[in-house]
Symmetry: C2
Subunit: 325 residues, 2 copies
């Protein structure tokens, strides 16, 4: 039996991970005995769960909360909780409190459990731990020089995870997620939002703004791929990973031009014309500092699998969200 | 006028830095107006200081202490205070409390000063932020995968320094010091101690144990070079460094065989015979995980200068410590 705790369960990836665990019923070769879903807003319990589900709205960074969350000694902890990039940059204290102090509270609670408790902890890091200038492709042993507070906080989380795992205090794996495309739901104001928007809005019959040129390339993965990464990270043998416990996930290096071509192919000419070019120097500047393409050889060798193609990413979005095309 | 605060002033490097500042009387193109020397044990005030010297024995990691230490708004802060590698590994809490929390308290105190205060902060990091396996030489853009808690804490300090500097909250530079050889004073139990011991003890007429084979190579710098790195880091233009504020210092890649040859050349055959080979598999194993040789191109281009040769390192030790040879 495998018991599972998900921190950040109400977010997009958390919800899709929950759905997948409910569907598969198993993790690490055993039936899932319990699902604990935690977020600052109460996560929705899946209706069709084969096992008991517990939901909690709580701030895991507050003193004593992490101890309570791990009281039942979950076998696998997915730590997806974070203040996102834009907000962590705008609100210094909030970003450090949740992304750094909160992560440390969780890791310390595990370390201090004191009864030989050593759960698999899957920590979602991000390609935001990297900062320009870059070689192309970026190799697995490229240094972390984040250019945002969010990237800094994720990089520090990676360091703590490695050290506690090396010391045998937990069994952590950090996975650096590519930008998730196509994100379902409403447009948001993230600088990276247009990578999803230029597909999502036209497929839903709405106009989308494109602030950059078509040659802009970015590192992407679908929500499905992200969920598969998380589950594989929960199941992989720790010894196979060695001491370097943080891995850049395989993605697809896709240009905006290729995205538009896919939209035309799958959605048709009329939908592609809903993308309106509106150059934005600020966004173009931000995007220029982001990584474009990784090698990701270590993760691939360890069995993490990228999306097949950008066409497959778009078809998965259409299928998962029930878009009439 | 330049006012200076040194945290960790009672350590070997702190004392030599203090002596050099007292000798030169100037820093950053101006007279030194005040020297504040802080450590857990009261640092000794230099007798011949041309400016007021204040010494304090205080634990800078305790809440509120850092605020008090920067109350007089020193222009340059040398942050050398740390629990060393062996102790940080043996005492998890002590290492994280001083090396991580203490560093953060200092940086936060600077950030919260709130009156446009933005001092140059020189943070001593270490080549312990790197962990095997390595390419040879190790390039400047190689990732940080520390294999000790000390290395982890230093790497996190680097990340925080970068982020606060990027945000304009302080003006930080992190310098990764090579192993300092020849350390004056008594032998200690550090695994790296023999790199100094096999020179120091024979020059003082005493036997030294050599636990590894002569082909072992390591990255070394003299105490003089370390002090020069610190002063150059205090004086260099921030803009020349760019956003990557942490630099691997140039050292010498020296083998144990080359060390012994230098000892024979400078100290004579009889002194070299005081080195007794006593293979120690544990120490050999630890040393095998350490970096051997760096490129250090960025630091060299920024004007940081390595020792000329291992002969020069040994001659400087003899001169500085007044050893009769």
């Amino acid at each position: 039996m495998t018991s599972v705790l998900i921190l950040g369960a109400a977010g997009m990836v958390g919800r899709k991970l929950t759905e997948q665990l409910v569907r598969s019923k198993r993790l690490r070769g055993a039936e899932i005995s319990k699902l604990s879903l935690v977020d600052v807003f109460a996560p929705t319990a899946p209706a069709d769960s084969p096992c008991p589900v517990e939901t909690q709205a709580v701030d895991f960074s507050r003193t004593g909360v992490a101890e309570r969350l791990i009281q039942s000694r979950p076998d696998v902890i997915f730590h997806l909780a974070a203040i996102v990039s834009g907000e962590a940059e705008a609100d210094y204290d909030k970003g450090y409190t949740i992304n750094l102090d909160g992560t440390r509270e969780l890791f310390e609670a595990i370390r201090n459990a004191g009864d030989g408790y050593c759960p698999r902890v899957v920590f979602t890091s991000s390609i935001a731990v990297f900062g320009a200038p870059f070689p192309d492709p970026i190799p697995d042993d490229f240094h972390l020089t984040p250019l945002t507070s969010y990237g800094t906080q994720k990089a520090i989380g990676e360091m703590l995870l490695s050290d506690l795992t090396r010391r045998g205090m937990m069994d952590g794996i950090g996975i650096r997620l590519p930008t998730i495309v196509v994100r379902p739901g409403k447009p948001n104001k993230a600088a990276s939002g247009f990578f999803s928007g230029i597909i999502r809005e036209p497929l839903n019959g709405q106009e989308a703004l494109l602030p950059v040129t078509e040659d802009v390339m970015h590192w992407m993965a679908s929500p499905r791929a992200a969920v598969n990464f998380l589950i594989h990270a929960a199941e992989i043998e720790g010894e196979a990973i060695g001491t370097r416990r943080n891995l850049t996930m395989p993605g697809l290096a896709v240009t905006v031009g290729e995205q538009l071509e896919t939209l035309r192919r799958i959605g048709g000419e009329a939908r592609m014309k809903l993308v309106r070019r509106e150059p934005d120097q600020t966004i173009a500047g931000i995007v220029a500092g982001w990584p474009r393409r990784f090698d990701a050889a270590r993760a691939k060798n360890l069995g993490f699998v990228a999306d097949e193609s950008f066409d497959a990413i778009v078809r998965a979005y259409i299928e998962d969200e029930g878009i009439p095309v």
